[in-house]
Amino acid sequence: MKRHVAWLCALACAAGAAPSRGQAQTADTLFATGVHAYKNLEFDLAASLLRRDLARRNVAAVPVAERARGLAYLGAAEWFRGRRDSAVVVFRRLVMLDPRYRPDRLIFPPEVTSAFDAVRLQTKTALIVLPGDTAVVLGTTLYRFWIVVSSFQQIDVSLRYEDGAPFRPLYVGPVGDSLDMSWDGLDAAGGPPAVSRMVLRVLSRAPTGELASIVQVPLAVTLVPADTLPWPPGPAASDLLPERADGAAAKRALLGGLLVSSAVLVLPAVVGESDTPSEPRVAVAGTIGLATALGFILHRPGRPLPDNVRANQAQRDAWQQRIASVTAENARRRRDVRLTVRGGEPTTIQPRGP
């Protein structure tokens, strides 16, 4: 009688749900009704409703936690219906879905949790927990991820090309609960990856060595070369001093000497005296003329200017030092090639049927 009433209630609820409330609300109603039936010990009804709910949820790709709750209730309902094999299958699905899941011991009785634990211990699967989009410096910083297993098992963690060919093995060995893993962004030969897509694969093996499950996640990798510094500009022509004398100094010496010598020679005439002997004036003017000739030779056009040559060489040396430092910095930056890694949706492959 109670079973019929519950069915009627479920049908009434299902019929009363307005189409406009959407698929999610229908699923929520099915799940709530199924749980309600379970709590009322209507295990057949609960199992039926929860299966329908899970079928909808699989299609709707709802969060793993909600699907796990549905499977837990379904497994418990099957257990209390006496269908232990169905319960084991449901629990195995639950373990495959989320190896970290543990039934709430305040909700489910010990026989259910014990049955679940037994299934979990026998089921060998793993969960790959990836970080968000991550950038690593090749060979320097690490791309870290976490592998959680359902129970003690042997795993084989490797990176593979999209076609399944091995790219780089990462770990082979036992895992009891979970394992922190890392990848330095390099391939097996120590070089940067030559492809933009690869697969992170975890093989779980039974104690007998048989393959139990395969979990793999597609990875999209992108090499991002670091920006290099531009070459520092060389000394501008306007910053360099002339390294050879132009004709200005020589011309100044020549003209200045002629002017002063002439001033000496014409000085008596300028002051109104024309009868003075010329010897002293000629001696002075001649000496100034000799000095002028010497000055002209010393400042002749084209002669090297050592001070300017040294000053220019200091500028060129400083520029060469800047070139060297930029070269070293660019070499360092070229070594620091960054690799961005973006993980996709994981998929689980079971070689054996449940």
């Binding site: 100094a249 100044r252 010496a253 003209l255 200045g256 000497g257 002017l259 002063v260 001033a263 000496v264 000085l267 008596p268 300028v270 002051v271 109104g272 005296e273 009868d275 003075t276 002997p277 002293p280 004036r281 001696a283 002075v284 003017a285 000496t287 100034i288 000095a291 002028t292 010497l294 000055g295 010393l298 400042h299």
Partner: protein, 212 residues
Amino acid sequence: MKRGLGVLVAALAASSISAQTIRPVANAAVVTARVRSELPAGTEELSGTALRGTGAVAFGRFHLLASYLQGSVQPDGGAGQSRDLAEGTVLLGAVPFKWLTLETGPYARAYSTPGATTQRWVFWELRARAAGAFIGSAVHGYAELWRALTADVNVPEPFDHAEGGEAGMIVRLARSPLEGRLAYRIDHVVLGGGSRTETVDGVIIGIGVAWR
């Protein structure tokens, strides 16, 4: 005129405040002096050597200069008495431009002959000197002209005018206050409407110390 001169002096003074470093200058020179006196009665020529000492203190664009020259000149040909020659100058100068110096002040000259009256010549001069380096920064050339504004002369002829000048070169050693000088100078005084002229010229060879 006075207002313009005041403005010029004020401008120079204002610009010199920024460079209030006192720079002393001192030099000594050997001067070959030749005196030529043309009188209606005849021409007298004397020559000799004198020593001249000069000291100056520069403050910004202004400087105060004093010089003293003493020596004796003998008549050319050996006949006649020698004269003692002494000159003294105190000049206040200003540098309106880097290449131009203006100076003014009294200039006194004395000829003393044993047993005769000493001739004293006192002029108030205005001098202008243009100078500049022409061989690198080591050799400077200069040319100077002066003219007497007023004169007080104890000779019978009335003063007419007086002019003079000096031109030469100064060699300054790099990173050293020492300097050497080679120049030619001439002073020409006209009295009595040209009936008497007094000319003193000569070569200056000197060394000096200038703290720049």
